[in-house]
């Protein structure tokens, strides 16, 4: 069985973000980087599947500068067998379509039985890459999975819908699944596995070799959210509170005008 898991390296979400000079993305300097949270669920599920079927080969794919190799090594330490790195210093400028094209170009040659991706990335959050890859490969995609099982060429899964409703779905492989919070608890790489991962194969290919397509979308402007003023706590008995509130509404808003 051949399995692919696609991951993305994203900034630590506790970082202080600044808009970059071009105004179309965040400034990448002085940030700490880690694996996209949803991709951790994808890697964990892929590793569990590999352990379940035994005879499986699990590749982890990541697009980005050389910096992303550190995150790929984590996936290798979690249990992936080999890494395929698409070297691209400007991947942040590519839209979900362009990114999906690259993954599909690689995956087409490899005929994977199952492809795992995160439900979305924590930084761009489009949620499109997985489904686009499936579409380009002409295989079914099951999204936002919170439960996954596999037997005899069939995936049985639960999807998370709005309002806490779950949907049971099933499809035959080859297929692509996108993973949601709650699917599993990602393992931490053990120290012996971190050391073993050093010896695993990691192929790096320049993005140009995969005939990248132009993006369909262009980010025009990225801006930080507007700062909201702090709340105001009024104190006193109810009658007094009502007076204070009316005074405030008159002075500071047009609600009573």
């Amino acid at each position: 069985m051949k399995i692919l898991v696609c991951i993305k390296q994203v900034p630590d979400m506790e970082s202080r973000f600044k808009v970059n000079a071009a105004g179309n993305w965040y400034e990448e300097t002085d940030l700490a980087w880690r694996m996209n949270e949803y991709d951790e669920y994808a890697v964990e599920q892929a590793v569990q599947l590999k352990q379940q079927v035994g005879d499986a080969d699990l590749t982890v794919l990541c697009i980005g500068s050389d910096r992303v190799k550190e995150t790929m090594k984590k996936a290798l330490a979690m249990g992936c067998d080999r890494g395929f790195h698409i070297a691209d210093d400007d991947s942040y400028l590519k839209d979900p379509f362009a990114i999906a094209t690259l993954i599909a170009a690689y995956a087409k040659e490899q005929s994977f039985d199952l492809i795992f991706t995160g439900m979305q990335s924590q930084d761009r959050g489009s949620g499109q890459v997985g489904v686009l890859v499936a579409e380009m490969l002409g295989i079914p995609s099951l999204t936002t999975l919170v439960e996954f099982s596999y037997a005899d060429g069939t995936v049985n899964a639960k999807r998370e819908l709005e309002g806490g409703i779950k949907a049971k779905v099933s499809c035959a492989t080859p297929a692509l699944v996108t993973c949601q919070l709650g699917l599993n608890t990602p393992r931490y790489p053990t120290l012996p596995n971190i050391m073993k991962a050093k010896k695993k194969e990691m192929i790096s290919t320049p993005v140009a070799d995969l005939n990248p397509e132009a993006s369909l979308l262009e980010v025009l402007q990225v801006t930080p959210p507007e700062k909201k003023g702090g709340g105001l706590i009024l104190e006193g008995d109810p009658a007094d509170l009502a007076d204070q509130l009316i005074k405030l509404l008159k002075e500071k808003t047009t609600a009573l005008a």
Binding site: R16, A77, T190, L191, I194, M195
Partner: protein, 592 residues
């Protein structure tokens, strides 16, 4: 790997190149992954049980240690042939730093992986390792180290515990009381020191199940309350002769070498604790409002945050520079040789002065950090509801165990002087030169193009000052200088500050070009603040030393030297502190 490997203490007379020192920025992807695994382990497996652990519910500690075993966190120092990973010291120090955020648990971890495991690795026979090491590195068994006794702490060799060979020659019968035994309540394997026939200091591997080993009550402690600290009473405890660790009468080697390693690892641990406490202090300062402003916006608070950030930066730089020194030296040893661990321990002993420095400087930084973090919290810092109060209590032991900071200060300058006397370090010749420089006017022609030149000249000057003072001390007291502890302490304080700021400056020089302009400014600010503070401490120690050693004209001359060699132009100090504080307040954590 360094181009040139410095000898222990040699930093005092030679200039190090920034390319030759190891810095946290040199960590490999693998080392960073180990750090991340450790952080996640603490966050997910220990912090949720924090209250139970503080309440001495040791099940959670034992369980946590087993999980550490599964993750490989207990096998870093064990040899590969025994199932270990045999990682370098930089890796084990990094993991030690990250585990330190687990509070009391980290004490159990440090005791187990340090003094609980290393004697077996370094001195154990193949049979002993086969019998015990797997249990230890998987966390199946916790381990403890029994050296201290009610009547012998710093004076470890004054132990009273005795070992007598049984009539049939199969067992040693151990009697005595061991005190302050970390992990005592749940350890299964104890490395116990006792004197065979009341004179030959020897180590023994003692299982909990051996008849006559009695675990005493838990001590009621000021801090690290969730760690187990008991007496271990040996009441005719029968230990098979094959459980003698190392050679009979050579226990002191095991005891002291284990402590050396404990000292540099402690440096890493307290550095992690300092970072955690600082983060807590900053977050509180950002949250707390007085006079309608966040208190973090006040200069009085900002200065604390800036000073702590600079000190922790120095502490971190020092710890990993030492890791690099040790790793480079150990890497020169041929692994195939029979006396590998003898050479290995000699390599570590080589840097015993630096290990002492690491222990003292970094634990003093933590002490200052937790004190200021309580202060930032005001009255809330005095209440147990906030973690600052626990940090304050937990910190205190770090200046006591693994050799008190006084013992470590005495050892640091004592060892350097001893090596000088033996001719291993050409301190005397350098000291003569320093004296000569004192009598010649200085023509300081500064090449401003050299990065951090002001700081480098200050470091050079402090070294000259140390040489002048130690030279004067040696001249006056000769080999009796070791008895003049006040002077040794003053000398150590200068040495410690030199090593700390030199580490801070060399690291900055090594990494600065890789940083963004904003980060570069912060780094320069940290170097300035750290150098200024360190120079003031060294100047005060030097002055004290001068008054203690000399009088009359000689005193006048040395005091003029103190003034001349402790000048540091810290222009822009206020801006530097505000830069550091602003960045730290924004990030809400230690920024380097």
């Amino acid at each position: 790997m360094a181009g040139k490997i410095m000898k222990g203490g040699e930093f005092l007379i030679a200039e190090s190149e920034c390319q030759d020192i190891f810095t946290p920025e040199d960590f490999t992807d693998e080392q960073r992954a180990m750090a991340e695994t450790t952080e996640q382990f603490v966050e997910n497996e220990i912090i949720p049980h924090h209250d139970e652990i503080e309440g001495q519910n040791f099940e959670h500690v034992v369980e946590g240690m087993k999980k550490c075993g599964e993750l490989g966190l207990l096998m870093m120092d064990a040899p590969e042939e025994e199932g270990g990973l045999e990682l370098d010291k930089a890796s084990s120090m990094l993991v030690g730093e990250k585990i330190s955020t687990s509070g009391s648990f980290s004490v159990a971890y440090a005791a187990h992986t340090g003094i609980g495991t290393l004697p077996l690795i370094y001195y154990g026979t193949t049979e002993q390792k086969e019998k015990y090491l797997e249990k230890i590195i998987t966390g199946e068994w916790c381990s403890a180290y029994c050296l201290t006794e009610p009547g012998s702490g710093s004076d470890a060799l004054g132990a009273q515990a005795s070992a007598v060979l049984s009539e049939d020659g199969k067992n040693y019968i151990l009697n005595g009381t061991k005190q302050y035994i970390t992990n005592g309540g749940f350890a299964e394997l104890f490395t116990v020191f006792a004197k065979v026939d009341k004179q030959h200091f020897t180590a023994f591997l003692v299982e909990k199940s051996f008849a006559g080993l009695v675990v005493g009550n838990e001590e009621k402690k000021m801090g690290i309350k969730g760690s187990s600290t008991t007496q271990i009473i040996l009441d005719n405890c029968q230990v098979p002769v094959e459980n003698v660790l190392g050679e009979i009468g050579k226990g002191h080697k095991i005891a002291f070498n284990s402590l050396n390693i404990g000292r540099f690892k402690l440096g890493a641990g307290v550095t992690g604790a300092s970072k955690m406490a600082l983060g807590e202090g900053i977050r509180y300062a950002n949250e707390r409002k007085q006079f309608n402003r966040q208190i973090s916006s006040f200069g009085a608070i900002q200065e604390k945050i800036a000073d702590l950030t600079a000190s922790i930066y120095a502490s971190e730089s020092l710890v990993y520079r030492l890791a690099g020194l040790l790793d480079d030296k150990i890497a020169t040893i041929d692994k195939g040789v029979d006396d590998y661990y003898d050479q290995y321990l000699k390599a570590i002993e080589e840097y015993a002065p630096e290990c002492g420095i690491s222990k003292v400087f970094c634990s003093d930084v933590l002490a200052k950090t937790v004190d200021e973090v309580v202060q930032i919290h005001g009255g809330y810092g005095f209440c147990s509801e906030y973690p600052a109060e626990r940090y304050y209590r937990d910190e205190r032991i770090n200046r006591i165990f693994e050799g008190t900071n006084e013992i470590n200060r005495l050892l640091t300058s004592g060892m350097i002087l001893k090596r000088a006397m033996k001719g291993e370090l050409p301190l005397q010749a350098e000291s003569m030169k320093a004296f000569e420089s004192l009598m010649t006017p200085s023509f300081e022609d500064v090449d401003e193009s050299i990065p951090f030149i002001a700081e480098k000249m200050t470091i050079q000057n402090l070294k000259t000052l140390f040489l002048i003072l130690s030279g004067a001390g040696v001249q006056k007291y000769m080999d009796k200088l070791a008895d003049e502890q006040e002077i040794l302490m003053a000398a150590s304080d200068i040495v410690i500050q030199i090593f700390a700021i030199e580490s801070a400056v060399l690291r900055a020089e090594k990494i600065i070009d890789t940083l963004s302009p904003a980060k570069q400014e912060q780094l320069r600010a940290a170097v300035k603040v750290a150098t200024f503070n360190a120079t003031e401490v060294a100047a005060s120690a030097a002055k004290k030393g001068a008054y203690m050693v000399e009088e009359g004209d000689a005193l006048t001359m040395i005091l003029s030297g103190v003034r001349r060699y402790t000048k540091y132009d810290a222009s822009g100090l206020l801006e530097a502190k505000r830069t550091l504080a602003a960045a730290a307040n924004d990030a809400e954590k230690y920024i380097f």
